[in-house]
Symmetry: C2
Subunit: 146 residues, 2 copies
DNA sequence: CAAATTAGTCAGAGTCTCTGACCACTGTCA
DNA sequence: TGACAGTGGTCAGAGACTCTGACTAATTTG
């Protein structure tokens, strides 16, 4: 048995991640954005300012394109995204964020900033900077999309 | 300005977490432990050495006790856990890890150690230590179970 | 002891995700 | 040019995960 005080780094990463996600979702729901789910949000988060292809969204979110299509359908119905033809490829369509999506993003960004500030207050400026630095570095070997 | 990354800390935390989880699952599958799912694993992970109550598992995994019961049923069928009556409370039962669970845990722990070593090589000993230190500190304000 | 609480189950439904099969368009190369 | 492999996306079906609501049984509390 490993000493109980020595949690593995995976759990240590997951705990604050989940705490942050919970905070963001609670705030979005309170602001009236209660008609989309975490799974939909994880896709929506990856839509670029000029629209993004379904396949690309699927790859980045690490889900199949069928699943991505399913989620985008719901987001479209709820008015968060629209699909327009891709001018450069007649097979493809671009998933674009609608006004409602940007409004939700603004709320989300606000909460993220708030939580990050709380974390910085708890850790101190120096440790917070080191944390982000280490995580950014780690991204080089853990993010297939980096 | 940190031009290194505009990603929010949440994504930065999630990326390495997911990479680690993927590695662990791939290794478990390769070692023959391919008869349980990520959701089941997240519950199994929280079983203490002397057994843990269903409700406690549910709380720690942040799922309802119904869902936890569903997942434990599957784990029981697959031979990873057993349920024994709680001697201190006739309503309750203790979910206990079976031999198979500890064997899987050994494989998982090995991979986690391996990945952590890779991360340490990439970050350097000092940064890795800082990372774990910051995350441990963060746990104080983000882990309801700390 | 009655009432409130806690551990867990049963039933039903909705959501998320996958595999496999398929169509339409694109790019390549003989 | 024209077959054909590859890519973008959809349809259909199924399995997995999760929830809410309602319930039983045992425990704790006043």
């Amino acid at each position: 048995m490993p000493a109980e005080s020595e949690l593995n780094t995976g759990v240590l990463l997951f705990l604050p991640y989940r705490a942050l996600e919970n905070r963001v979702f609670a705030a979005l729901a309170e602001a009236g954005f209660d008609d989309f789910t975490p799974a939909q949000a994880r896709v929506m988060q990856r839509i670029g300012p000029n629209g993004t292809r379904l396949t690309e969204l699927a790859e980045q979110a690490q889900i199949t394109k069928q699943t991505a299509g399913f989620l985008v359908d719901q987001l479209e119905k709820a008015g968060y995204v629209t699909r327009i033809p891709d001018p450069t490829d007649k097979r493809a369509r671009l998933v674009c964020g609608a006004e409602k999506a940007w409004a939700a993003k603004e709320v989300a960004d606000g909460v993220v900033a708030e939580v990050e500030k709380e974390w910085e207050e708890h850790l101190g400026k120096r440790r917070m900077k080191q944390l982000r630095e280490a995580l950014s570095l780690l991204r080089e070997i853990t993010d297939p999309w980096a």
